[in-house]
Structures are given as C-alpha cells and as structure tokens.
C-alpha cells in the first residue's frame, strides 16, 4: 500500500518516515488540499495509519496531546469518546483537512471521508456529486456501479435536496467508495439518521467494508454501533487514546452475544455511563 507521510515541511526529506514524534512548530500549514503543503514521503509500511506524538491545539489548549495510533490495512476501528474529546479532530487530521498539527502522521494516499451530514452539492445531480473529482476513464460507469452498490441506482439523476436523509447519506458513502480508498474515514455517518435507517446504514457499511476491505476509522458516540461494526474500539480521553478494546465476536454480530454485552457494559463504563450489568 502506498502510504505517505503528512508532516510539517520543516522535516528533513530523507525519504524515511519519521514516526518518532519530534514536535515542530507548524507555521501556517492550513491548506486543506491533500496534495499541498505536506512533505510527501512515499514508503512501504505494514500499517495503513501510523500516528506518533500527535498534538493539536486550539487557542493554546491541546485537544490532542501526544496521541499514538496504528491501524492495520483492512482493519475496522471505532473511535469512541465523550463529545469534545477530540475524536472528530483526529479524524480531520487523518483526512488531511486539518494540518495545523505537530507530530508525525502517515496515511494512505487514497482516502475518503463521509461526514455526519451528507455534504452533497445541492446544485449537482446525485451521480455528478459522486463523480466529483473522479479521474480516469469511464467515471460515469464507476459512479453508477457505486450507486448501485449502495442501493441508489433509482436516484442517479435526482437532485440531492429531494433525497431522504438515508438516501443522501448513502450517496455520500457512494461518493467515498467510488474512489476505492485504502482508508475510509467515517465521522458519525449514522448519527443524524432515524433508528431504523441507522440500522440499515450500519448493515450497509459492514457489507461494503467486507467487500472492499479498506481500513476504516469510524468516529461514533454509539457504543452499539462500534460493537456491531468494528474490530477494535478505541476510547479517547484527555487527548490520547486511553483504551484499546479488541472485539473478537464473530460476524455478523448479534447484540445479545454475551461477549458483546460484556464489552458494551465495559465500554459504557469507560465512557462514564455505568450500566446495572457492570456495577
């Protein structure tokens, strides 16, 4: 997997990924374009995501402070944490949107993001939205295949504002998938959906992940969602990943599985919501 290092330009370009976490002032590295303002170091690595000593400040307050994270290729990781703990910030750093950081971050070149809101351009029809920025031949064919895969083949020419919440979110997922990412970043993609649509969306995400096998980092506040989908659940607090919980239960996951139930109680307790089963 071609992986490149995002890091302040001041680092030496010796071709070797420096993951030792030397903190450097980052100046004005605020550009959001993944192709710009980063020292690009191609390297072969066994990990899809490698973060060392990451630090991100907002107005002098460090939201992320010395965070380390490794995600294997094809691994599904759920990132849990109370609101404001910095999990969305971490996701934005991994996406390359937020580069105003110190530390070393290496992520796959091919990565895609789906946000909590679908963020479709309302003035472009659904398939044009999915095709946005897509290069190479037969873009439309690939787009149609992706829309078919998320079950939106009947809304290809619809305006985004006429889609239901679930449909719009599926279109956003298709837009991420059509790029065949090695890393898929999901920022609470089911949070604004109704309960039934959310379950269907989670099933779809599980299905797509098994078929395309990208590494996934899913930011969520829903413990059940994490337990239904992820190989590992990470709990973030105080600017670092404070807990790393492996989920070995067989797929498809059954919520009533005793192992899942025990993990659920454990994770909820870590998040400060003790359940009767845990106490």
């Amino acid at each position: 997997m071609a992986t490149r290092l995002l890091r302040p330009v001041t680092g030496s370009a010796d071709g070797e990924p420096r993951l030792s976490g030397d903190l450097q002032p980052t100046g004005d590295l605020q550009l959001t374009g993944p192709e710009r303002a980063v020292a690009v170091t191609e390297h072969e690595s066994s990990a899809a995501v490698e973060v060392r000593g990451l630090r991100r400040e907002f107005g002098g307050r460090a939201v992320i402070d010395g965070l380390d994270l490794t995600v294997a290729p094809g691994e599904f990781v759920a990132l849990l944490g109370r609101s404001g703990c910095g999990k969305s910030t971490l996701l934005r750093v991994l996406a390359g949107i937020d580069l105003d950081v110190a530390g070393a971050v290496s992520v796959p070149r091919r990565r895609a993001v789906a946000f909590q809101e679908p963020r479709l351009l309302p003035w472009k029809r659904v398939w044009r939205n999915v095709a946005l920025g897509l290069r190479g031949e037969d873009a439309r064919g690939r787009v149609l295949a992706a829309l078919d895969e998320v079950g939106l083949d009947h809304r290809v020419d619809a305006w985004p504002l006429t889609l239901s919440g679930g449909e719009a979110q599926r279109a956003a997922l298709a837009r991420a998938l059509v790029r065949e990412p090695d890393l898929l970043l999901l920022d609470e993609p089911c949070a604004s959906l109704d309960a039934l649509t959310r379950l269907r969306m989670q099933a779809l995400i599980a299905d797509l992940w098994e078929r395309h096998a990208p590494a996934v980092v899913l930011v969520t506040h829903d413990v059940d969602e994490a337990l239904a989908l992820a190989d590992r659940a990470l709990v973030m607090s105080d600017g670092v990943i404070s807990e790393d919980v492996a989920i070995h239960a067989a797929r498809p996951r059954r919520p009533a599985d005793p192992e899942i139930l025990a993990l659920r109680a454990h994770l909820l307790e870590l998040l400060g919501v003790p359940t009767p089963a845990a106490s």
Binding site: E35, G96, F115, E117, P122, W123, K124, G133
Partner: protein, 334 residues
Amino acid sequence: MPASESTALAVTEPPSSPPAPPAAGAEATVAPRTVAPRTSAPAVAVGAADAPSGAPAGAGPSRRRPEIETLRAAGGGRRRRPVPRWLRRASGPVLLLALWQLGSSTGFISAQTLTSPATVVTTAWDMIKDGSLVDGLLVSLRRVAYGLLFGGIAGLVLAVISGLFRAGEDLVDAPMQMLRTLPFLGLIPLLIIWFGIGETSKIVLVSLGVAFPIYLNTYAAIRDVDGRLVEAAGTLGLRRLELVRHVILPGALPGMLVGLRYSLGVAWLALVIAEQVNADKGLGYLMMNAREFLQTDVITVCLIVYSLLGLATDMLVRLLEKGALSWRRGFSGQ
C-alpha cells in the same frame, strides 16, 4: 386508526359543537379516550388503583373532558371554480386604467396634464408606424446592453477577485465599498468632460450603475458559500480551479442573480438620466423633444415603453433563475 377516522368523519360532517351527537360522535370520542389515560397516567396510578387500564372516559374524578374541535380539510367543503390567478392579478391595473380613462373623458384630467389612455394607444401606433419609436428603442437598448456587458463583467471580475483571495479583498473591497457610497448619477458632469456627450459617456454611466450591485451581491454570495461543502469537496481531491467552478461559483449563483436583477433596475434608471441630460437620439431624446411641444401623449408612451422594458428584463432574469436554480427547494410562498 382512530385519529384518521375521526378527521375523515369531521370533513364529511357539518361543524358539530363540542358535545358530539350520538351517532357520529361515538367514534369521534374514541380519539380523546385513547389519549386521556396517557396524559393523566400518574394520577391514575396513585389515586385510582381499582380502575385498571382501559377505564371509560370520564370515570375518574380527575379526568377532564377535553374540548373537541372539528378539523376541516382545507378547501374540502367549498370547492368553487377558482378565478384564474392571472385574471385576479390583472384586475387592479385594469381598474386603474379605467379610472384614468374616465377622468380624461369627463375632463377631470386635462389633456395637457395627461392624455387619455386611448390617445396614448393611437400615439403609440403612430410612432411605431413612422419608425421613431423603434429607432429610439433600439438606440436605448443598445446603450443598456453595452452598459450591462461592461459593468457586469467589471463587477463580476472584481467580486471574484475579492471573494476568492484575501489579498484581493484587501486590495479591491475597500475602494469598492467607498466608491459605492458615491451617487453615481452625480458623475454626469465629469463623464461629459471625460468622454464628451456621445455614446461613451452614456454607456459608462450605465456601466457604473450596473457594476456595484453585481459586485456587492456576488462578493457576499461567494463569501456565503457553505464552508462545509468546500471542505468536503476538498477531500475529494478537487483542484483549485475545479473547486471554484463546481462548488464556489454555483453556490454563489443565487446571490449573483439577485445582483443582476437589481442592476437591471439601476441600468434603466441610469439610461433615463443619461438620455435626458444630453442626447440626440433614443427614448429619452424623444421625451425631451416632446416636452418642447407639450406632447404629453408622446412622453407617456415613452414612459410606458421604459417600464415595459424594465418588466421584460426582470422577467428574463426570473426565467434565468428558474432554469439555473431548479435544484433549489426554497420557501415559495403560501
């Protein structure tokens, strides 16, 4: 579904008073009965332990009989053949026209003040026949077209520069905001000194009037584009120019069109002024000429032509909006 039953009932039934009649009301009371236990649940649990779940309405002393309102489907009962909307809209202007004609016919409005609508029509026909109206119209249209073109391009380019780039904003926006407070019609003496009394000064005046509304609205619209959309598009690997083309400019289009509509109004205004100050052809010239001979009918015809032109251009932009903004699902009035 008791709720839907009772509303369906209410539509067919005449407005029944709160104590419902026995036959029809028997079903109407189903809805409050299913609601009542839920709202007063705590009271039941504590006080009336002997009354189990489905207690009849009004059994407990604490239970208030709700006031029943009969809902009518909108417009369901009295469906008359509606008068077409355009006819209703036309009634006001037609009435005004009739009053005007009446005033002229009875001599209440003298011909020197304002000629009658009938005379205006015949005068207009005469002016069309001898070609003076069409000639003047073409000259005026040409001035507005050039003014719109030059002023529009200038406003648009400046707005894009200051909308897209911080440096552009620093450089362009401050002077534009200062100049915009200048009453541009007051520039006529200067323009005449600079460009003479020919076509150039008139086109420049229209351009000046057009440029500012376009600039202000486009600039504001660009800065108003949803940052989250720009961010999302950025993660899709769009190049800078693609971002502008696919995200920022389409996002700013509604605001731009508002600017265009506004500037069209200003363009006609600037034209009227420019043509009346100094012209040897055009609609304004026709009017000034008519003034010399107290031809209020000619003046009225020209005024009507001006307003028709304004109306036509406004409709053109509306049509443009309809086509370009068909993706929108905004509030369209009730």
